[in-house]
């Protein structure tokens, strides 16, 4: 035995047992167990949340799904016409406005900052500003909408309208779009750009033909995530003045005149029904059913984004 020749027998035995002993690291084991418990509790929270919501809301969805989707806001939870169509419509319009306004500006900004901007103080100020905007609480964006779009711009936006809400939401998600798109563009290997310049392409042609196709999945991930954020946010809508009671005088689904009308959104309906649940418990299950609809949309967008990102990360190694 090699150890025995160098060390005295007692030390050799000790060293040998330290090396070959099993389960000796009890404290390490406990630490590992604690970490596992943390992960388990986190995952369990998500599971309990989903089970709780589905248990509360499923009876409504399974018995009267069509009526619930087509119904409107009512004062009694037993009303057979109770439903979420107005909220769906409001959220749909908001998502549409966000897609039209925030996506072009966000992607354009990201291209500018990553490809065009000179390295100077103005650029680093813009970048710092975007990072800070991403951390501004959503309720402050609501104040922006209330103070600037609802009041002074009432002649343009129609006051507490879906247009004000959509503009506010666009400002809210813009930093997210810019940051995710910037990351995607930054990840494009320089060799691709140099190859483009090498064959005589201009800057924009390199961006268009080499950079953007490579960065597209990452950019798409960012847009999906920001869309789901815009659909789920409730606080700015409350401040901009989404209707929290009954809502009358509705236009068709795609009538642009509705842009300047009063509105409500799916998250607002959920919030509202939770509050009404105090006097009429039937609203709690209606609210849970609305949550199931909202979660279905939001989680679909999120998991599409996550899967897309993972797929392309793996593909490119």
């Amino acid at each position: 035995m090699a150890l025995g020749q160098v060390l005295d027998p007692r030390t050799a035995a000790r060293v040998e047992s330290e090396i070959f002993k099993r389960n000796s690291d009890i404290r390490g084991g406990i630490f590992r167990l604690l970490l596992q418990i943390a992960l388990l509790v986190t995952l369990l929270t998500l599971a309990v949340l989903l089970v709780d919501v589905v248990r509360d809301g499923w009876p409504v969805l399974s018995t009267r799904f069509g009526d619930f989707i087509n119904g409107t806001l009512r004062s009694q939870s037993k009303d057979p016409l109770l439903g979420i169509s107005q909220g769906l419509k409001g959220s749909l319009w908001i998502a549409l406005i966000v897609a039209v306004l925030a996506f072009p500006i966000g992607i354009g900004s990201a291209i500018y900052l990553e490809e065009y901007a000179p390295k100077n103080r103005l650029t680093s100020f813009i970048e710092l500003n975007i990072r800070n905007l991403a951390g501004v609480p959503s309720v402050v964006y609501g104040l922006l909408g209330l103070g600037l779009l609802v009041g002074p711009a009432a002649r343009f936006t129609g006051g507490r309208s879906v247009l004000s809400a959509g503009l506010t939401m666009s400002c809210l998600v813009l930093p997210i779009v810019i940051i995710t798109a910037s990351e995607a563009i930054r990840a494009v290997p320089d060799a691709l750009r140099e190859a483009g310049y090498g064959v005589g392409a201009t800057k924009w042609e390199v961006v268009r033909d080499n950079v953007l196709p490579y960065a597209a999945p990452g950019v798409l991930t960012g847009t999906l995530l920001s869309l789901s954020r815009a659909l789920g946010e409730a606080a700015p809508l409350i401040l901009v003045g989404a209707v929290q009671g009954r809502l009358g005088g509705q236009q068709g689904w795609f009538d642009p005149v509705a842009l300047r009308e009063k509105f409500t959104g799916l998250p607002i309906i959920i919030f509202n029904w939770v509050q009404d649940g105090g006097r009429d418990p039937g609203f709690v299950s209606a609210s849970a059913a609305a949550i199931i609809v909202l979660l279905a949309v939001v989680l679909l967008l999120n998991s599409a984004a996550i899967l897309l990102r993972n797929y392309f990360e793996n593909k490119r190694g």
Binding site: Y116, T157, I270, V298
Partner: protein
Amino acid sequence: MTVPTAVARILPGILATAAIVTLTISVVLLPWAALPNGASGGLTSNLPWLFGGADFAENTRGRFSNGYLFLALAALMVVPAALLLRGRRLGRGWIMVFGAIAIIFALLTRSRFLDQFAISELPLSAGSGFAGVIIAGALACAAGLAAGWMPRSASTGGPVTLEALAGDKDRLGRERSISGVLAFAAMCSVFIAAAIVFVLVREAWVFASQVEWTRVWDIGWFPRRGFYDLPTLVFSTLVVTGIAMIVAVPLGLGVAIYLSEYASPRLRAVAKPVVEILAGIPTVVLGFFALLWLSPQFVQRFSEANQGNLTAAGLGVGIVIIPLIASVAEDALASVPRALREAAAGLGSRKATTTLQVVLPAASSGIVAAMIIAVSRAFGETMVVFMAGGAADTAVRTFNPLDGSLTMTAAMASLAGGTDSVVGEALTQQSLYFVGLLLFVITLGLNVIANRIVQRTREKY
């Protein structure tokens, strides 16, 4: 970039926008435009300013209506469309001409447009200007990007001349206008930040200069009766944030360390997306969960509290920030160089020792940044505390986490939600902005610190 150059760069972009918008509308909607007034159903009734109007008829002594003008315009626009489709280049001059035609058309139909949207005059105010810049930015950017994709004929063949070596003028012009449009888009975010500060400071200044300051430090938050006790809001915000951090720091850090140091790649591939899904759950859903499940199951079981209380709200906010801490801390752990771990293992330290005494200290600044970001998020979280915090629109000053109270954000939400129905004291509306400014300054400060730390760690490794 000087101002005139900036204008010279942006102007072609704006004109191109107008031209492309008109071009698209005219090509897509040509069939409807040709129909006489009233006969085309939906579009005529929806967009009379564009299709049905008689403005132009008045100007041309009843001979034409907008529809005919539109038809002529559309016919004109067919020329550049055909050129573009055949891959011919369209110089800046052409774009300017069509942009100018589009703008003249917009001016001709202006009064009809204003009637349609019940606008008595052109809406010029700070808010409209803001909305206008955002919308113009989006349109210019979309148009700029779209124009960038239009096919161009490359100049090929022929002898090499000085002109050929100087480059294709159209191509270079396009480069300039696109970079101008993109710079304009990037400035939009600066503009939004400026607008936020402007709105908050303007109204908060009114509040600060007119309020009786003794009422800002009094029994509680009764804004409609003129009592604006800021300590009430700040204390309950701190209570909620504290509870949230107590819950979320161990869990979030545990998840981050486990996923980064211990988990097998397979487990990681499953667990990480699930944690991200938790991050994507709308806060209004967590408010529902905190009020209707966490509160009865945890808080009310062990105490006499009402259903809505600050502890339940804190637990809910904790769930909001767990994924945030987990992801930022995991990034920090992942950026610790592998060599440090290998060196520790080479010296014979165990896995737990390596993690606790080598990796965690190396990542400590990133982890601190994660906590700061989480505190800032917890401060700004609105829906969970508003739904589960247990106070509707007023609150007495309290330090007891089992009471219901209003945090800064919840106070803002309740004030804004009620402004329609209840008319409060003169400064009620302004107090909203004052609290908002306070919240904005606090979260901005925290974020600036956290960003700086993250930036510095990124440079270190």
